[in-house]
């Protein structure tokens, strides 16, 4: 007999957070260090959004139960910003309720390639085939 969380409950919880508003992605300054405890709302991190960038509204947001790997995955279409001059090495996923102080932050994710510095160009993320992050049951 093994202890486990239950995937449908995890998915339900994640769906409930996403339903609070519009899921978005913000590219963060390289100096930003996420605080997993205290960075609760977008207002807590907005001052450290990478200069020159704006928030990207995420498309094709899906939460999927991957039974084979015992996890719930969050996936989206590849986000991008055009004609951007900026420096970033990580991004935050958050849900825009319309009020920064009530918009929950879900995750901060490092960019594998390290620091990106587009010059009047397109800044984009090719999202991992499995998604941005997964919540495991065990």
């Amino acid at each position: 007999m093994a202890s486990t969380l239950h995937l449908r409950a995890l998915k339900t919880q994640l769906d409930a957070i996403l339903a609070l508003g519009t899921p978005k992605l913000s590219f963060m300054a390289t100096t930003f260090t996420p605080d997993s405890v205290n960075d609760q709302y977008f207002s807590d991190i907005s001052a450290e959004v990478a200069s020159g960038t704006t928030a990207v509204t995420l498309a094709s947001v899906t939460t999927t139960i991957d039974g084979a790997n015992n996890r719930v995955e969050l996936d989206t279409a590849d986000p991008s910003l055009s004609t951007v001059t900026a420096t970033t090495n990580k991004y935050c996923l958050w849900v825009d309720t319309g009020v920064a102080s009530t918009s929950p932050v879900l995750a901060t994710i490092d960019i594998v390639e390290g620091t990106l510095g587009p010059v009047a160009g397109t800044l984009s993320i090719t999202v991992n085939a499995e998604g941005h992050f997964a919540l495991k049951a065990v």
Partner: protein, 303 residues
């Protein structure tokens, strides 16, 4: 195609409203033309047909004021035909210095100047530094390009003997090879002050992040001066695409304390009922019995 500084030209004008710069040699349509210029005080430096990328200025109302700018233009047929350019210093006695670059290899689009500049600073004559520059900056170089470093100094002295050299940038790569284009002063404001400009450039192919820049300073007369500077990484528009590794979060399920190797049993729980005794009452009705009476024989009385 790599950006290449093909040719340059410089000029200065003392106490004048403009500086005429000879067009660099070989200008062709599509070349990127860049002007770096400085002057005493404000307002802005302009040149017809050029766009200002940014400026550094000091405007406190004394002879340490200055204006340092970088302008750009994509050459067309009119530039091919032009002989020179008039860089406007705005006021009749501002005077100033201008340096112009012709850069080939520009494939098009609006150039983006990745730059870091200094706040306008005042150095009193007791604190003249050996170097001038900025640290704690972050200039990302996404592709090949050209670094341009510029420093301007304005002093209330007509012969401060200012010179700069030994241009350096700090990054994970070695300092590139610098070419100094300008290291000159000009009298301004009716010969009451001096404006100095140094401009140097270095092509680069490295892509590490620059965290500091500096140049050495010498002056023959220590005086209060206002200083402004910038470092620009000039690159063509470049896209950047990143990827992410899936972030998997596993839950922590806390272990519960339990007994090992214990088998429980239960004894049959027998529960005896408690039957409460009842207090009962009975009522026996009283059966009235007639009292026995003797028989009475009545004898009629004789009348």
């Amino acid at each position: 195609m790599a950006l290449v500084v093909e040719s340059t030209s410089t000029n200065s004008s003392a106490n004048a409203a403009s500086v005429t710069v000879t067009k660099p040699s070989g200008v062709a349509t599509g070349d990127l033309l860049v002007i770096v210029a400085s002057k005493y005080a404000s307002p802005a430096i302009t040149c017809s047909g050029f766009t200002e990328a940014f400026n550094v200025s000091r405007n406190v109302g004394n002879l340490t004021d200055f204006y340092l700018t970088i302008l750009w233009r994509i050459a067309d047929a009119s530039d091919v035909a032009a002989a020179n350019y008039s860089v406007q210093m705005a006021a009749n006695d501002d005077g100033g210095i201008a340096a112009m670059f012709r850069i080939s290899g520009w494939s098009g689009g609006t150039p983006s100047f990745i730059f870091s500049d200094s706040d306008s600073s005042l150095y009193t004559n007791a604190t003249t530094p050996a170097t001038l520059g900025m640290s704690g900056i972050e200039i990302v170089r996404p592709s090949d390009g050209v670094l341009i470093m510029a420093h301007t100094i304005n002093v209330g002295n007509t012969a401060p003997g200012i010179s700069m050299a030994s241009y350096t940038v700090t990054s994970a790569d070695s300092n590139p090879s610098w070419t100094e284009l300008v290291d000159a002063s000009v009298n301004v404001n009716a010969n009451t002050a001096d404006n100095y400009l140094s401009v140097a450039y270095a092509p680069f192919t490295a892509n590490s992040i620059i965290t500091a820049y500096a140049a050495t300073l010498t002056e023959s007369t220590t005086v209060d001066f206002g200083w402004g500077s910038f470092l620009v990484a000039l690159c063509e528009p470049a896209a950047a695409t990143g990827t992410n590794a899936l972030l998997q979060v596993s839950p922590a399920i806390f272990a519960n304390s339990g007994m090992a190797d214990a088998t429980g049993t239960n004894a049959l729980l027998e529960v005896e009922p408690e039957i409460f005794t009842q207090n009962g009452t009975t009522t026996t009705p009283t059966v009235w019995q007639n009292e026995a009476q003797a028989t009475t024989e009545w004898i009629n009385e004789q009348l």
